[in-house]
Amino acid sequence: MSMVGRDVYDVDVFNVEEVYQLFELTKHFKGILSRKVKKVPALRGVTVCTAFFENSTRTKISFDLAAKRLGADTVAFSASSSSLKKGESLKDTILTLDAMGIDLYVVRHSEPGTPKFIKKYTKAIVINAGDGFHAHPTQALLDNYTIWEKKGKIDGLKISIVGDIQHSRVVRSNIKLMKMLGAEVTVCGPKTLMPLEIEKSGVKVSYDINEAIDGADVVMGLRMQLERQTSGLFPTLEEYHKLYGITKDRLSHAKPDVIFMHPGPMNRGVEVDDHVADFERSVVQEQVTNGEAIRMALLYSVLGGRMEE
């Protein structure tokens, strides 16, 4: 199936076959990233706008580079230095950008549903780079690609995700994709940070980290934000670390070939120990490289094949 022209709000805009197609393409783009000239002219003449209304360094740079490496022109919009501060509405901002000829928006915003909102005011393709704590499809794609590359498959794997599940868009998109690809997912964290009725999403829920990590093929840690402490959701970060910190010791109960993942940036000493962050089965650095390659694959797939007006 052609993915040309498709907006990417979350991972479920793809079917399983298409996900694997993206994975195959990603392999090729990873190859290009290891060349001296890390560039192909496939998307020459296309304008990609990274519209980040929420702070981010890694995802923004990753998308910007991905577009440039495909030969596209990029435009970066950042909320802090824009007329949004002067009170211009999001609707007017998009209409203005659109009038300058954008072919694709990569959007990150603190409000869920923003990509769909933006689509009301533009005909360009919209890719969600994170909307509130709703979804982050490219993170889920790169996470699953990493697992697929390391383990050879995803179907039947036991994956455990530990941390602030309530506020994580990475978890939500990952749960959807992992279930689509046949993995068994366990989420673990304090009850105050666990969404109501999350078992209805088809995941196992555990409040005990040892139970959750036991026999896991993949362990993913999530960033624990310091603000949670003050809003009555959790007493202290120290207690969090004692109960839910991922340590080398706890990881030893997972399968011997377990891999450790984290979307970054990591809070060493809070959700993860130094030892784990640096240990040989941690694939955190590769996630970043894979992120770039899969974003290239995604941009290439949705932008190619437009008929010229």
Binding site: H28, G31, V40, L43, L70, E308
Partner: protein, 180 residues
């Protein structure tokens, strides 16, 4: 793509003869001091490159080879509607200063060769590029001509030429058919 009225225009024996003749022409074109490598364009060009390499080996010569997939260099990315099937690109040698012998099974509009040349240039600055094609079916849209050509076969637009290498599917032959 469905083809009707398929018939063979080059049989295995003639095929082999053409290949040998191309090889000797190539050797004549290359001077002694030249540092060269053969690069095949996916997919047909890769088989051609391999065959030339085999013939060279029979004559005691080791030809370094590479391959390029031009999917990301095509000039029709925006007109494509199906998912691309990307194959391997492998250039393990230094391109700068080398003579690149670029191979493809059929040359038609010339766009594929143009894309391949662009891709090779992203790897470095070749000394020169020598273009080797097995069949030239005419209808060029760019000013690109093979330096060495196996056979010129004039065709109509709705016809299609398929070059079969025995490594690929059993027998060496060239077929022509009409597209439905």
């Amino acid at each position: 793509m469905n083809l009707k009225n398929i018939h063979t225009i080059i049989e295995p024996a003639q095929f082999e003869k053409i290949l040998k003749r191309m090889y000797f022409e190539l050797m004549e074109k290359l001077k002694d001091s030249e540092d060269f490598a053969v690069v095949g364009i996916q997919t047909g060009g890769v088989y051609l490159a391999d065959r030339l390499k085999r013939i060279a080996f029979e004559h005691g010569l080791k030809l370094p080879t590479g391959k390029v997939d031009i999917t990301f260099y095509r000039d029709d990315t925006f007109y494509r509607l199906e998912q691309p099937h990307v194959k391997e690109t492998q250039i393990d040698f230094e391109v700068t200063g080398k003579t690149i012998i670029l191979c493809d099974d059929v040359i038609f509009t010339g766009r594929t060769v143009r894309a391949a040349i662009d891709e090779i240039f992203d790897y470095g600055r070749p000394r020169r590029i020598v273009l080797v094609t097995f069949i030239d079916r005419g209808h060029r849209e760019l000013p690109i001509q093979p330096d060495i050509c196996g056979k010129v076969v004039p065709t109509r637009m709705k016809e299609q030429i398929i070059v079969h290498f025995k490594e690929q599917n059993g027998t060496d032959r060239v077929e022509i058919g009409v597209m439905e």
